[in-house]
């Protein structure tokens, strides 16, 4: 390598913490530029150079690259999977080349998304890399992802009920700090023990039957909070326990066959990318008696559009309301807020009415009527 390696990659939630330390371990001489948080500037840059009708994650991640390149990055990373996302890499690379940037583009999408390919590519950047080192970095990365996902999942479900505001966020930043500090696996195990012990001790005031909402949809819109205007936080602020099965851990462990089994009665064939997961997860939430579902997708996301009729049928069969939201770079935040507000109002009023009709004084049995 004539010049020193400077990595950059698209942002996805908080996972840049793990990606950065992973890259630092396998290519110690390299710099890693984490693109700045997604702002209006990212969207403007990305949309300016993207095809108008492409899904919004393409635009945002292109914006990430541009901001990373501006800061001097010269090695770009991308992955991709079973929808248009599978072609992001090739198209983004071409766009950036046409703009005149000089960089190396490492795309591990679809058939290339294999560990041996990653190893070979990294070996070229760092000839002294050996398999044991690589395996260690992978294990440390996997451990960190697992810790993050486990913590964040618990946080989403319980943060609405914390006694002292900010307890969860404080612990989360402790966790992130610890994750950045070390790649030592036994140290990570120690941290993990301490953090989760502290997490379970956070005092909560959970009502007896809290309102619970599950979020399903395409992976990017779900995991990058700026792309959905921090919808989960909005729901949490309204006192709702938010559940989301989607995470990077989930993506590594998922299988279409399993999801299809879970979506039985609603889907016979796969519908692309995470469409099957949306249906499967929605059905699980419905069976678990959740109060509502939010289905989020980037505008024009074909797999999620394919999943929508199945979701609508689930909504009818289980009488569970589903809020469908589409996001793109033009979506108005006010519009989304109005819909979320109305959704949580609806859930709360429904719950109140149920409580009233359960009380003997009312006893009209309104809920059993209908469906004729």
């Amino acid at each position: 390598m004539p010049q020193s390696v400077i990595f950059t990659f698209p942002r996805l939630g908080d996972y840049h913490i793990v990606i950065k330390s992973f890259l630092r371990e396998i290519v110690p001489a390299a710099h890693v530029i984490v693109p700045p948080p997604v702002t209006q500037k990212t969207l403007d840059l990305g949309s300016r150079y993207s095809p108008d009708f492409i899904c919004s994650p393409f635009k945002v991640t292109l914006g990430n690259y541009l901001e990373g390149l501006e800061q001097g990055a010269n090695v770009l990373l991308q992955t991709g999977m079973g929808c248009r996302f599978g072609y992001y890499g090739e198209v983004q690379e071409q766009i950036l080349r046409d703009l005149g940037y000089d960089f190396q583009f490492l795309c591990f999408s679809c058939g290339q998304a294999r560990l041996d390919r990653v190893y070979a590519a990294m070996k070229r950047l760092n000839p002294s890399l050996n398999p044991a080192q690589f395996a260690h970095a992978l294990l440390a990365g996997a451990k960190k992802i697992h810790m993050m996902d486990k913590f964040n999942r618990y946080m989403r479900e319980n943060m609405a009920f914390e006694k002292a505001q900010g307890s969860f966020l404080r612990l989360q930043s402790n966790l992130y700090e610890a994750l950045q500090k070390t790649n030592n696996i036994s140290l990570l195990h120690q941290t993990s023990g301490a953090i989760f012990a502290a997490m379970n001790k956070i005092p909560l005031e959970t009502p007896q039957r809290p309102l619970r909402v599950g979020v399903v949809g395409d992976l990017y819109t779900l995991m990058e909070p700026s792309s959905n205007f921090y919808l989960e936080n909005e729901l949490i602020k309204q006192g709702i326990s938010v559940s989301r099965m989607m995470s990077v851990s989930f993506l590594f462990l998922r299988s279409n066959a399993r999801s299809l089994r879970g979506a039985q009665g609603y889907l016979k064939y796969t519908v692309g990318a995470n469409g099957v997961d949306s249906v499967c997860q929605c059905k699980r939430y419905a069976q678990m008696g959740f109060d509502g579902i939010v289905h989020m997708k980037s505008f024009g996301c074909t797999p999620e559009i394919n999943a929508t009729p199945a979701l609508q049928r689930l909504s009818r069969d289980y009488k569970i309301p589903i809020l469908h939201l589409s996001f793109d770079t033009q979506t108005s935040e006010t519009g989304v807020q109005t819909r979320i507000e109305a959704f949580s109002d609806m859930l709360a009023m429904k719950r109140k009415a149920q409580a009233a009709s359960a009380a003997p004084a009312f006893g009209k049995g309104e809920r059993s009527v209908g469906n004729a």
């Binding site: 702002t39 609508q312 109005t338 819909r339 609806m346």
Partner: protein, 328 residues
């Protein structure tokens, strides 16, 4: 003076029109008005408040205020409202006070349309139009202008039609060109207007109501419900009887007033608000590349509220104070 009756003010500030009602404890409308917003919600609200006041007798005191509609934040701050609620909840609450047994609410306003499904007096599902204003009041008014009739008269004209023209309902742009084409081939004006009313109903049912099961009783409201042509079109398209309340255009405001009444916080509303000078200053915060558009809301030059900033960066707050200085 202590024995004045408690009454409640509800205001619905939409993109096209501003609606207001004053209701009593029994949810009966004592005073109401409906005026055009004309892009100036503050002025429209002042005018509305003046008109509501003149319709009121001395023996009452407004003790709570509720605001809804797309300018609810602004007007809520202006009126010191107890309740600022989204349109969906407000409409549902308003309608349920008139039709407790309603199962479906069709609502078509100036720029947006909503579908609310209820069961046992509770909202169980809703939908709102997203990207496109096809099939809303704005579409009807622009077509009325093109045909040289008043939008208020469209309904009556549509009802005189013997054979409504078939007009493509999928998209406003196509509907418009389709209508022009039909006009040029000699279709009568009343048939065109009836066709437009059908296009609105069909567009609504194909978009918002897609995948949802409508049940009777069906209540239709919002400005467009005043158009008898669209009401008939809905009846023909769905086969249901469509209920339209005499106050169907005011349901959002009624709902906001009821929510204010039930909020449990009361303080007397001062009608002198119409003499106060309100203004807003928009400014692009340069604290980071998000460049939030921060709006400061000023009352007689004093900052009352501030919104639009995504982070607690001091710049925005300081700016507001600067604005206050300058206005003075």
């Amino acid at each position: 003076m202590h024995e004045r009756t408690r009454v409640f003010l509800g205001v619905d500030v939409g993109s096209i029109s501003t609606k207001g009602v004053i209701i009593n404890n029994e949810n009966e409308v004592l005073s109401s008005d409906y005026i055009w917003t004309e892009g100036n919600p503050i002025e429209a609200t002042k005018q509305l408040i003046r008109s509501l006041q003149s319709g009121l007798d001395d023996g009452v005191a407004v003790t709570a205020v509720g605001v809804t509609g797309s300018a609810r934040k602004l007007v809520g701050a202006m009126l010191g409202a107890q309740v600022t609620k989204n349109e969906i909840t407000a409409h549902a609450v308003g309608t349920l006070s008139r039709y407790p047994q309603a199962r479906t609410i069709l609502e078509i306003g100036g720029q947006d349309s909503k579908l609310i499904l209820l069961d046992g007096g509770v909202v169980v599902d809703y939908a709102m139009n997203t990207l496109c204003a096809a099939g809303t009041g704005a579409f009807l008014s622009s077509q009325a202008k093109r045909l040289g009739v008043r939008v208020e008269d469209m309904g009556a004209i549509a009802l005189t039609s013997q054979s409504p023209s078939k007009i493509a309902a999928r998209c406003t742009v196509f509907a418009e060109s389709d209508m022009i084409h039909k006009a040029q081939t000699g279709h009568k004006k009343e048939d065109l207007i009836a066709g437009l009313c059908h296009a609105v109903a069909a567009n609504y049912l194909n978009n918002l109501a897609k995948g949802k099961r409508l049940r009777e009783p069906v209540v239709f409201q919002g400005g467009v419900s005043k158009n008898a042509g669209v009401v008939r079109a809905f009846e023909e398209e769905t086969g249901f009887e469509i209920l339209v309340d005499p106050n169907s255009h005011l349901m959002g405001a009624v709902g906001a007033a009821i929510l204010a009444k039930e909020a449990g916080e009361e303080s007397e509303f001062d009608f002198h608000i119409t003499d106060v000078f309100f203004s807003t200053v928009a400014h692009e915060c340069e604290g980071c590349s998000n460049r939030c558009e921060v709006v400061s809301f000023l009352k007689d030059g004093e900052v009352m509220d501030l919104w639009g900033n995504r982070c607690p960066k001091g710049a925005a707050v300081r700016h507001a104070a600067d604005c206050a200085q300058r206005e003075r």
